[in-house]
């Protein structure tokens, strides 16, 4: 924990499931307010690494600190300081927009007034003012996704983990989604994003590419393209992923 503006540290972080090493000795740091892209093919170990950082999974080796707390010993404190948006859609379809926000605000211990204020803000920002009492299942997918992100940010956490947030969303909504991510980063939130889309990787401040549980490359998109002599992140990724031994 050398510099004060480093908010996530992983040192030789490892997770084994029996003989299988899902995450193998990864080391990296994420700075405050950064958009950190976490790339990798299916089964490369992205989600396992992310779950360890969120305190959902105990590492079998190495160490990691999130918001200054040890993932092994203080996962409760970490959970209070992060927002999490899972791969699968994470709102309750049979609850209304308002009820979803009230629920997530409530489980993070927000006061009723704070929840009301924030609900009004989110509804305003997403142009959902007239849809507050609509069931989430009746909203279009793009809106649901943006709402899920807003709900993950509802309690103003310093760090938000997004696990493949834009799966199955049209390009326009993806663009709007990334605008929201930029705004959040601008406001000082750190964003840890896993994604499949290589054009999204270009939007990140820094990316790491995982292959077979190890970090194969890390740096700004510009640096990675230069060192691998590639025109786009897509080429960089394919070049690195081709060396993978294990498949899904």
């Amino acid at each position: 924990m050398s510099q004060p503006n480093i908010i996530i540290t992983a040192r030789n972080l490892t997770r084994k499931f029996g003989d299988f090493t899902a995450v193998d000795n990864i080391t990296f740091e994420v700075q405050k307010g950064e958009i950190f892209g976490f790339l990798g093919a299916n089964g490369a170990g992205k989600t396992t690494a992310m779950r360890m950082l969120c305190g959902l999974l105990k590492p079998t080796g190495g160490e990691a600190y999130v918001a200054g707390f040890d993932v092994k010993r203080h996962s409760e404190n970490i959970k209070r300081n992060i927002g999490y948006m899972s791969q699968r859609f994470s709102l309750y379809e049979d609850l209304t927009v308002k009820e979803n926000m009230r629920f997530y605000g409530g489980i993070y211990g927000m006061s009723i007034n704070a929840i009301k204020e924030k609900t009004a803000l989110v509804a305003e920002a997403l142009h959902l003012k007239n849809e507050q009492n609509t069931l989430v299942q009746d909203l279009p997918l793009g809106w649901k996704q943006k709402l899920a992100f807003s709900v993950a940010m509802f309690h103003n956490p310093p760090i938000v983990f997004l696990d493949e947030p834009t799966g199955g969303v049209d390009p326009i909504t993806r663009r709007e989604f990334w605008e929201m991510i930029y705004n959040a980063a601008h406001a000082g939130t750190t964003l840890f994003v896993t994604t499949h889309y290589m054009d999204e990787a270009e939007y990140c401040n820094r990316v790491s590419i995982m292959v077979d549980g190890r970090i194969a490359a890390m740096g700004t998109p510009q640096q990675l393209k230069e060192t691998n002599q590639a025109a786009s992140m897509e080429e960089v990724f394919i070049e690195l992923a081709r060396r993978a031994v294990r498949s899904e």
Binding site: L56, Y84, Y92, L95, E99, G106, I107
Partner: protein
Amino acid sequence: MKQLFTFIGKEWTHIWRDRRTLLILFGMPLVQMLIFGFALSTEVKNSKVAILDPSKDVATRAIIQRIDASKYFDVTDILRAPQQIEPTFKRGQIKLVIVFPEQFREMLLHTNKAQLQIIADASDPNIGTTITNYANAIIRDYQQELQSGPLPYTINIQTRMLYNPQLESAYNFVPGVMSMILLLVCTMMTSIAIVREKEMGTMEVLLASPLRPALIIISKAIPYLLLSIINISTILLLSYYVLEVPIKGSLPLLLAVSILFIITALSLGLLISTVAANQQIAMFISLISMFLPTLMFSGFMFPIENMPVPLQVISNIVPAKWYYLIVKSIMIKGLGISAIWREVLILTGMSFFLLALSTKKFKIRLA
């Protein structure tokens, strides 16, 4: 505490929005009680009887009249020849034929001995046996009346049916329906409610939040605990006021052991939720592993005493069996805690075991 209320509130909204399930939850005990109370019965009433009576005398008429007057039989056919017996049965309406010999009364008076034949349709053996017994009893009754004079050496048997003198089947099924409904609501609905969060992906978000896993489980269980208490009350009110089954023992004790059984059922639901990958599997496991054994091994449908020993041993691990015994003891026999402490202890042990096992499994899934 605030988190707990927020969560329980959310669960209520889920249950409330799903009107179809809600209807099933509250309609089920109602329908089951009415079906078991009015439609299904182990008594066989109004069986159709045919008579072949060549002697047509006072004695045979008296017997026929008694048969016809009883609520179990309706005399619908008078046959003229023995050849008609089989075709009558084959038409399927007649369940019993009574065949008198010629000169029945003469034989009875002069030789002190007369025979008559009862032929029953035993294609359903239970009905066949039951109605034959009814007919026997009616004829025996008549015979005793004839012997009312000072005859030596008669044995009069006085039978008393303890706890259920009218042999009402409601006494048997009310405890059975109670255990089935509780299992259904608690085990199946709880496991489905937890598995749904897993299937929807919301469980991961909940686990990444500061909520403690125990709190998630408690919040899931409490709404179903309340629903079950409402269901028990419905069943007891219906059985008391509509089916007129008395509650002979203490009502608080009955409610207390019911809550104990609810906790056992909830722990089972929790255990199933840790194993099942999706809602269909959870439902399937609940039905196969809970519903069938409860139906077969609780003693509610089939008497455990008549089962082969291995099955009797298996029946001991079915929680409903113990609950059924307890409810019967309290409700029908009016016994107190001193008579049921063993069963209560077994249920408590089962709850602890299941709860420990499922919390352990739940934690393993997280780690």
